[in-house]
Amino acid sequence: MGKETGQLLATWAALMALLAITVVAALAPIGPVKGLVNIAAAVVKAALIYWVFMHLKQVGGFLRIAAVGAAVWLLILGAMLYADISTRV
């Protein structure tokens, strides 16, 4: 088993662990924080997949921006939508 394969397996294990955490958090009676835990776990999972499986670890700076920059635009959409919906009368 090469070093690279080992890394992939470790990543997979981490992903599965995060999945377990999410499901447990969702079912446990821990109140509204569970929403945050779930989102956070999803973000970490996505980051792992992008970083390792999708080679962001290996590619250059601009490619990294190109790959995940769209998230910033989504945040714009979300923020402005929120600005409207939350303050409507």
Binding site: W73, I76, L77, M80, L81, D84, I85, S86, T87, V89
Partner: protein, 553 residues
Amino acid sequence: MTDAVAHTPEEAHKGKDTAEERVSYLRAGHSLASWLTTTDHKRIAILYLIAITGFFFIGGSAAALMRFELISPHGMLLSNEGYSRAFTMHGVIMVWFFLIPSIPNTFGNFLIPLMIGAKDLAFPRLNLLSWYIYIIGGCFTLYALVGGGVDTGWTFYTPLSSLFANGHVVALVTAVFVAGFSSILTGLNFIVTIHTLRAPGMKWSRLPIFVWSHYATSLILVLATPVLAITLVLLAAERLFGIGIFNPALGGDPILFQHLFWFYSHPAVYIMVLPAMGVVSELVCAAARKRIFGYAFVAGASMAIAGVGFLVWGHHMFVAGESALAATIFSFLSLVVAVPSAVKVYNWTATLYKGDILLDPPFLFAMGFIGLFTVGGLTGLMLAMLAIDVHVHDTYFVVAHFHYIMVGGTVSAFFGALHYWWPKITGRMYSLTWGRIDAALIFFGFNLTFFPQFILGYLGMPRRYHVYDPSLQVWHVMSSAGASILAVGYILPFIYLYAALRSAKPAGPNPWGATGLEWTTASPPPKHNFDHPVQVTHEAYDYENAPQPGEHR
């Protein structure tokens, strides 16, 4: 197939082909199939040119119909529904099937590889695919048109479009959805090309502004278009299955549709104007025979417009029921986005200072662009002012605003580009006199058509009305008269440009004495763009060392 074969008898008879023409991309294969399966960016550009011209005339015919109808205050020709269908088809076709692909997919496609010294776009087959996707979208549009049309307006507001409108809403929405993928693929192709295929020495700081503005445009194409795509999917699902996301009766929110629509469509207006700004930057420099004033600022302004342009969409919804806080934020940001536009306009003007100005047709179109864009943009600022918009929203004031930018601006730039690069694309020079007459005709006809609409709008004439108060008729008659002049102005080039194809005057590689790699290769360019390896040693617009314009141009 390459050189000197298979001429039509007519051409052989005239025997006027130049040596460049015989080895040009135009002659690399003559069969229809060689065009329809080409992966040469220059040929695909011409495929686009033909297709968008067709759609421009369909959309223009709808405009002609509307302007004819509006001569009388009582509606003399069309039913209410007929008129609604006319402006819906006009808007949809003009926006998605003409203006958005107009400059990028024709001139961008043709010129970006030439300008950066590449053999082709990064993904030539993808480029062809995106033309086919565009054509499929176009077929859906034609189907919706022939099948009786749609009466929702180009904005497809719910719940009218989802629950009430009859007509081929789903077909038309599909058309726009499909065409969107063509946009995405083209944008992606441009970005990758500009990143990876610049010739040795073509640093970012040496890129022509045309390339910069297409780069900015492409970012919007890639990031905004998918939002429209999914929104239209939801709209279709709403209409077909009643999923209720935009339906207030099921707890949905119709305003949400507007948010998503404008999240795309406001950036999309910059898709329509940024390439035109790129064209005008080239034209102004070539006209003044000077380096552009403030290169870094003009290039940066394109990027700034693309970025900030994503933050202002809510200015279309000031009276639609968005919150006052959101409206104020959007209003403010709309003023911010005017700043990079101001930078462009003032830098173009400064570029002309102490220039050596050629008054040839392309440059007249460019100056027309600057003036009309300024009027359109500054009235856009009026619209961005909250209280003013409350009065003029959804009136002819808005109609006038966007035609000033889109028709007076972008279409003028499109014609400017056509006149500027026509000799490069075809190798032949047209009649400059006719070109000048045409530029003047379009400028005059345009103002006569659309200036009265500002007044109509302030008087309170709502848009999408075909019956109106008789006291307003004078302005409408003026507008319709202007539109007929405009129509002549748009048809005329077809005559003299076509005549140029047949004329004996080869243009030579660089008729305007312009800088830019595209002028260093033959006209029309050979199949692989450059006969020699390209090496860039100078910054853009190095007019000090440029050749002089051709004598008879």
